[in-house]
Point group: C2
Chain length 205, copies 2
């Protein structure tokens, strides 16, 4: 094909889930099959890049000061679910099982990759906790060494930050449960998942 | 998510092979994970839209007057493989089994969808044949009613267009073979494929 075509294909191939064939197919689609879609896609990309930014309170995607969740008065802003990335928030929203607020860290502590507390979106979380309006924090971080370290760090910092219980404050901190995924049998689970599932067993009534 | 995010996702979802989840993932990738890739992708899209056009001789993608294949002197321009779309050409090139030239019709005859000979890229093919430089035409069109009709039409027109054999001309027209795909057994083939395979049987030595 032509150099500009190959360059476009190379850029498309960097996107998650796209390989050599699928990027070639999309490039052909945009240049040959439906060339009228290309300017519309470019406009949508530019508009999103221009207008989408981080919510100043929780770090989720927003177009104004606050994101749609932080601005929704019907949600319970006393409960904050802490996630690593925006896609984690999207996954929890999709489940429909949660009606509280969020906080997106945009990463997790990882000394090996040079990610310390300074690199994470932490200050606005502590600021929210300091006001005393947060009563519960659910840590929905991943089940690996870095997730553990981040949970540990957050718990310690939150204990210091939150208003004391005798002053009418106190934040309950929990971590989401780990175990067998829904529909998954013991036979197919890896040993780390089985270990979590055994540790996380609950009374059966 | 935000309106601009959802608009971008909607445009991505129209691309071939992308569904709701994969377009959401790509939008999050471009807006949150790797926002520096977005301007580069926009630039590549715009550059391709600006510089990629049709080869005036064969209809393949080109950046100058002729495409890379029409401009390649090492290829055999006396043999022309007629395909419906550019992706068909790409697939044949990928096989490495062909060293001749191409002609892209950008469609096939379909009275139901209002596609007549006027809508196809035909004139430059007949112009090439009229010069007498083409000795063989391979019809690599699809194995359906519209592909059949297009083959029929082309064969009739080519017989009238090509210089007569007694004038040193004459074009040999063939159609690519149909049958079992490589690696596919009789058990898994549909009945139309099996019919083609039986009709296309060859002496086994």
């Amino acid at each position: 094909m032509t150099p500009a075509f190959e360059k476009l294909q190379k850029h498309l191939k960097q996107l998650p889930g796209l390989g050599y064939r699928s990027s070639e197919r999309i490039a052909l689609h945009l240049l040959v099959e439906k060339p009228d879609r290309l300017p519309a896609l470019v406009a949508a990309l530019e508009e999103a890049a221009r207008s989408v930014r981080r919510c100043t309170r929780c770090g989720n995607l927003a177009e104004g000061e606050l994101c749609a969740i932080c601005g929704d008065e019907r949600r319970d802003h006393a409960v904050v679910c802490v996630v690593e990335q925006v896609p984690d928030l999207v996954a929890i929203e999709r489940s429909g099982a949660y009606r509280g607020a969020y906080h997106v860290l945009h990463g997790k502590l990882s000394p090996i990759h040079g990610v310390g507390p300074e690199e994470l979106n932490l200050s606005s979380l502590f600021a929210r906790v300091e006001t005393g309006e947060v009563t519960e924090i659910i840590l929905a971080l991943s089940n690996d060494v870095e997730g553990e370290a981040t949970c540990h760090y957050l718990t310690e910092r939150l204990e210091k930050t939150a208003p004391k219980a005798d002053a009418g404050g106190g934040v309950k901190v929990s971590r989401i449960g780990f175990g067998l995924p829904s529909g998954g049998g013991v036979l197919y689970a890896d040993s780390v998942t089985l270990k979590s599932a055994l540790e996380g067993r609950r009374a059966y009534s």
